[in-house]
């Protein structure tokens, strides 16, 4: 088949924070780079991050990267790899300062330094008390960051392919990744983008749940591509439910609200977090707070007509502080909750927010997988960074503000590694296999020719309801087993989706059908990995195994699409230069 083909040194899939940070590294190295994005770069979902990016700058009070590292290891419930966590926390200050030099409009202290606020799970002196570590631009940190990174890429003349959707990875017999097959949405044309290096930066897939803070575009495209290409997905059972999504709407209310002094109340007006986390209360890590809220609701102490939500009170901060530090929140609360937080509390519920798992990588962003001999091998030509990657710095639960740090640090290191690998000719441009685009074209042809079938919205709806009901904050063995059955059935249905729209021009129905294929891989991997993990750790909480089991389960899950097979790999407990943090009971 005569599919157009173009060649690049590197293809970056996704132009959110990690994709833009990586792209910058590549463009400034004068490589020929194509950055593909389903949306104009500044519309990527990094734009919705609110509260801050963590770095132990110590602008407000003494701090150091080792405390940050401890908090992150503890936050991960000891599933995070300590080498990667050390790597990230050590680089945090430089990453934030670099961004400031790029022009990021951080809020400022009186002495002119970057403003920092407290955030959940971030503490002083190994858990003593909450610390001001989150560097913020009001409650629009993600927006400010994404625009700054885009602007810097404009300066570097990065080449963007805007409104292009990558559909599949191309791998050869040796398993090397040779580029992607992609769709130009405006024209409907399919093209092979051949490259020495392919970097996935496609973000999360929170749209597998009904109630999600995530954007419509967060459909796990990189994960679907990787899974179909035979690359495993790591730790997919770990999904973060953010404590404060607007009840009913799902829109995010930053933890920065609690960082600035807001707190949660049940229907009795009780500040219940004092019972669950006596030391840092509302600033415990997110899995802890979300579970406490869900418990309050379950036990009949939720507010609202049906006791279905919790109240987030911040009126005591005063309208001035709210307008200065949390202006976006006031806007969102008025629009989506019909309350003015300067006078009334915001109704909130734990809402799916972040995917801790992803494509397994090392700290250089190189994709890795089992070599079949008990070890690990690098997937030549494939890199991943940001939410779609699992390096793993977040383990079983991510700390707030560590996502923005993750994408800066690993976006950059992945970019640097690509530059290095291309210079050393570790990666090159081998011939494409003759069938490079066959599977992709078969999927497209089926959609183009099907005259009957399942509606994409019906299958997607069933997937979201299944995940919400069977794989939420609290997980139950029978319910999970049923969830697996249901998801397998949903995945079957997804093979016969049908769209009325057969047009070439900006066919968003086709895009949504292709996105569903990716969501299904993510949902299936989540359900199956969760059902298999017989312990409770971080965001994975199951009733029949209520405790963490370090003896049997301090290991990462690896899900393979082929046969829904699971393998496991050890957690890296050894940091790069310092002593390990030994697992202990997690109390906040």
């Amino acid at each position: 088949m005569g599919i157009a083909r173009r060649q690049f040194d590197a293809v970056v899939v996704g132009a959110g924070g990690s994709g833009l940070r990586a792209a910058l590294q590549l463009a400034e190295s004068n490589l020929k780079v194509a950055v593909l994005s389903k949306v104009f770069p500044t519309r990527s979902h990094t734009v919705a991050a609110q509260g801050g990016v963590s770095a132990s700058l110590g602008n407000e009070e003494p701090d150091n990267w080792h405390w940050h590292m401890y908090d992150t290891v503890k936050g991960s419930d000891y599933l995070g790899d300590q080498d990667a966590i050390e790597f990230m926390c050590r680089k945090a200050c430089d990453a934030v300062v670099e961004l400031e030099h790029y022009g990021m409009p951080f809020d400022r202290l009186d002495n002119g330094k970057i403003y920092q606020r407290p955030f959940g799970g971030h503490t002083s002196n190994y858990g003593e008390r909450a610390i001001k570590r989150a560097c913020a631009a009001a409650d629009r940190t993600g927006h400010a960051m994404l625009h700054t990174l885009y602007q810097r890429n404009v300066r570097a003349h990065t080449q963007f392919f805007v409104e292009w959707m990558a559909l599949d990875l191309i791998r050869n017999q040796q398993g090397d990744v040779l580029g992607v097959v992609a769709l130009e949405m405006e024209t409907g044309e399919v093209m092979i983008l051949q490259s020495k290096a392919t970097l996935l930066a496609t973000g999360g897939a929170g749209r597998i749940y009904s109630a999600s803070t995530n954007a419509f575009i967060n459909t796990g495209d990189g994960l679907g591509m990787a899974a179909r290409a035979g690359i495993p997905l790591e730790d997919m059972e770990f999904w973060q439910f953010h404590p404060t999504g607007v009840a009913g709407a799902g829109v995010l209310i930053t933890e920065g609200v609690r960082g600035e002094g807001g707190f949660l109340l049940n229907k009795n007006g009780e500040r219940f977090m004092e019972r669950y986390a006596p030391t840092v209360k509302d600033l415990a890590s997110r899995d802890v707070v979300a579970r406490a809220m869900a418990t309050e609701i379950k036990e009949g102490r939720g507010a609202g007509k049906d006791g279905e939500y919790i109240l987030l009170k911040l009126d005591h901060l005063g309208a001035d502080v709210i307008d200065k530090r949390l202006p976006g929140i006031r806007e969102i609360a008025k629009k989506f909750a019909n309350v003015d937080p300067a006078t009334d509390p915001i109704p909130v519920v734990p809402t799916c927010h972040y995917q801790m798992g992803g494509v397994p990588t090392n700290v250089q962003g190189q994709a890795v997988m089992p070599d079949g001999k008990g070890g690990e091998k690098i997937v030549k030509g494939l890199y991943a960074a940001g939410e779609c990657a699992c390096v793993s710095v977040h383990g079983a639960n991510r700390l707030g503000t560590n996502s923005l740090l993750d994408l800066l640090v690993f976006g950059k290191s992945a970019g640097q590694q690509v530059v290095k690998d291309i210079a050393a000719e570790v990666v090159s441009m081998p011939d494409l296999p003759a069938d490079a685009a066959d599977k992709t074209m078969a999927r497209l042809t089926r959609l183009d020719t099907a005259t009957t079938g399942e509606r994409v919205s019906d299958v997607g709806g069933e997937m979201r309801r299944t995940m919400q009901a069977h794989c939420g904050v609290f997980r139950f063995p029978d319910s999970m087993a049923e969830g697996v059955k249901k998801m397998l059935a949903v995945a079957e249905r997804a093979k016969s989706t049908f769209i009325q729209d057969k047009s070439k021009v900006f066919n968003t129905a086709r895009v949504e059908a292709l996105e569903l294929d990716n969501l299904i891989e993510v949902a299936l991997s989540t359900m199956i990995s969760a059902n298999a993990r017989q312990e409770s750790r971080g965001a994975h909480d199951r009733s029949d195994f209520p405790n963490r089991d370090d003896k049997n389960w301090m290991k990462h899950s690896l899900w393979f699409k082929d046969g829904n097979r699971l393998e496991y790999k050890a957690v890296q407990l050894k940091p790069l230069t310092v002593e390990s943090f030994e697992p202990k009971a997690r109390v906040y």
């Binding site: 104009f40 500044t42 400022r108 330094k113 509606r455 919205s457």
Partner: protein, 231 residues
Amino acid sequence: MRFQIYRYNPDVDAKPHMQFYDVPMEPTDRMLLDALVRIKIEDDTFSFRRSCREGVCGSDAMNINGKNGLACITKLADLQEPVMIRPLPGLPVIRDLIVDMSQFFKQYHSIKPYVVNDTPPPETERLQSPEDREELNGLYECILCACCSTSCPSFWWNPDKFVGPAGLLQAYRFIADTRDQATNERLDNLEDPYRLFRCHSIMNCVDVCPKNLNPTKAIGKIKDLLVKRTV
């Protein structure tokens, strides 16, 4: 609820037409975007952009009952029926509500939207006082949705020559940044009969901005700087 929506698919339509949709709404449907998503479920050929659904990504700008706005933060309860939905005015239509925004972004890029500072960066952050930082408020929050520029008659007439309110707001964002050293070059870049001075303070931009920003005020400040520079 009743909607009347601009439809055009160059693959099948000789010319655009308006199509009626009657949509049964659920109590949970709060915003216009909820209704558009519902319409798309019934008629998947209906095309529009959307992403964050909370007013920060800028994807779903459109003309709603004659006024530009974001579908995701436009409350259904505030809309008169039939709700008339058209693409943003003045830009080429690719399909239905999807417009070609190349010209808009070209103008944004033309103002050099990045901090220029050629002194070697210090090891820590460049310092900026809270007061100086405050100058960026009302500027940096722009989401590039194009509601403003596509409601501006001057931009309709000269989209290739007039930078437009969005681009000029950003031009001033960098002029106002104490860390930026390129104010003179930025002013040079705008001193021309079209790029800046086609703004006649009609203020449609202010009226429609979904983030309540004020491009006209920023344009006024740039004009002041140009005047100051000549005296």
